[in-house]
């Protein structure tokens, strides 16, 4: 990848951001929403004949901003982010905790946002891919993924990056992995095998794994 290409990525994502917001502002999405039952959007497969039970109010600190939501209790954290807050960076892949595309950080720890209810996180802080860059400055892992071409279709990328942030924090905190030889003394430096094991909850169907490992390796070796 040359320098020009890596420079286009942030602009491209900004352009997408603007487009999506514009769509929402012009009401096209609202029109689309009215054609579907609200519950179907909010909670995935539901019994259409089934009335929703009392709504719940949830306060979440999302990327530093306090947001209050009134939700069907069935709403997963992922659906709350995507369908209620228009934060569509977190992706819905399998919706069953098997692919990692929905990975976000709760109080700094990585989890699958598809396998938890938003209401269970009332009062907690959530970091999504949208909260990583500072203005036009990409987070080091975002920049490393661009530099090392750590994706092809890009669908798993936001989950990979959020997961890698959580993984590096775990590793710096002394967390061993299944491939750590001596559980009582995890090595300070992460081998490729360690990164692969620790990132195994994030599937990339394009198989960009060598480049994902290289991107993470670059940031892992940088003191923070």
């Amino acid at each position: 990848m040359d320098e020009n290409e890596s420079n286009t990525a942030p602009d491209a994502s900004n352009a997408f951001e603007v487009t999506r917001r514009t769509v929402i502002e012009t009401g096209t999405t609202a029109l689309l929403l009215t054609t579907l039952p609200r519950a179907a959007l909010a909670v995935g497969p539901v019994d259409a004949n089934e009335p929703s039970l009392p709504a719940v109010t949830v306060e979440l600190r999302i990327n530093g901003n306090l947001r209050s939501l009134t939700l069907d209790p069935r709403t997963t954290l992922l659906d709350a982010l995507r369908e209620h807050l228009a934060l569509t960076g977190s992706k819905k892949g399998c919706d069953h905790g098997q692919c990692g595309a929905c990975t976000v950080l709760i109080e700094g720890r990585r989890i699958n946002s598809c396998l938890t209810l938003a209401v269970m996180h009332d009062g907690q802080s959530v970091t999504t891919i949208e909260g990583l860059a500072e203005g036009d400055n990409l987070h080091p892992l975002q920049a490393a993924f661009v530099e090392h071409d750590g994706f092809q279709c890009g669908y798993c990328t936001s989950g990979q990056i959020c997961s890698a942030i959580g993984m590096l924090a775990e590793s710096r905190g002394g967390m061993p992995s299944y491939v750590t030889e001596d559980l009582t003394h995890p090595a300070a430096e992460l081998s490729d095998a360690e990164i692969r094991e620790r990132m195994s909850g994030n599937i990339c169907r394009c198989a960009a794994y060598p480049n994902i490992v290289a991107a993470i390796q670059q940031v892992a070796g940088t003191p923070t």
């Binding site: 995935g44 497969p45 009582t184 909850g201």
Partner: protein, 326 residues
Amino acid sequence: MKAFTYQRADSTTQAAAAAVKPGAKIIAGGTNLLDLMKLQVETPSRLVDISRLPLDKIEETPGGGLRIGALVRNSDLAADRRVRQRYGVLSRALLAGASAQLRNKATTGGNLLQRTRCYYFYDVTKPCNKRSPGSGCAALAGFNRIHAILGTSDHCIATHPSDMAVAMRALDANVETVDREGETKIIPIAEFHRLPGTTPEIETSLKPGEIITAVTLPPPPAGVQVYRKVRDRASYAFALVSVAAIVDSAQGRIRSARLAFGGLALKPWRSPQAEQSLANAPATMATFDTAANALLEGARGFGGNDFKIPLTRRTLHSVLAETTRA
């Protein structure tokens, strides 16, 4: 997902009282329950959230063991310094399970209570005696590659999916519970999970409204601790066969061995006969073979899982060779 009311419990006894109401289900980490609710395998009408109860501590017991709160996360338990130093088999088993994201959510109590990963249990269009008692078992004559070879019945051949519980079984852990009257109970892990028999829908010895508060570990037994997991891919897959082994040996002679197996039955499996055959025996291939014979006596394949019988034998050989190496 079916509609439900949501309630956050303020105490274990309040949660236990709420849990006996019709259609009620306890949720903690939720990684298994919500998965099953999305597929309508589980259809609770009330969800009682216990995730904020103060059951998330790991404490030393007076007897030199550890008391693990029911809400301790799998990742926190695996990373705990005392667990890594004294109960390496448990730390390694936890790290072998699921993914880092799931381990950050999944709890100690929830891990014990996870449901089987049998394909037919998950598919609501297929018969399953565990999900729908009396409907039959589609796995008996179906795709049963991942299924049990020990302790099965004509009603169910599912396996228990936990790695953590296998290590706890080798460590002779105890499960502590409380009911809505505040009555506490201690259940040895050997008696916690049930074999299918004629009632595969009853999976544990917990009574309605009885809630797990902690798991206690006795002081670590002497010996080398190993957790070996054999699976279809190198990471993030359920065990075809797993072994939690604690083997005490010196100069080519085994003093004692504890062996618990995952992937073979509807509960973590131990064979007293196999363990007895290893006690005070030389660490030789012949000894390992005798132990494997004792373990696999009565093992039965159902076609797709026949390979598990020789695979278990080889895995046991390998683990015993590793743990008795001078």
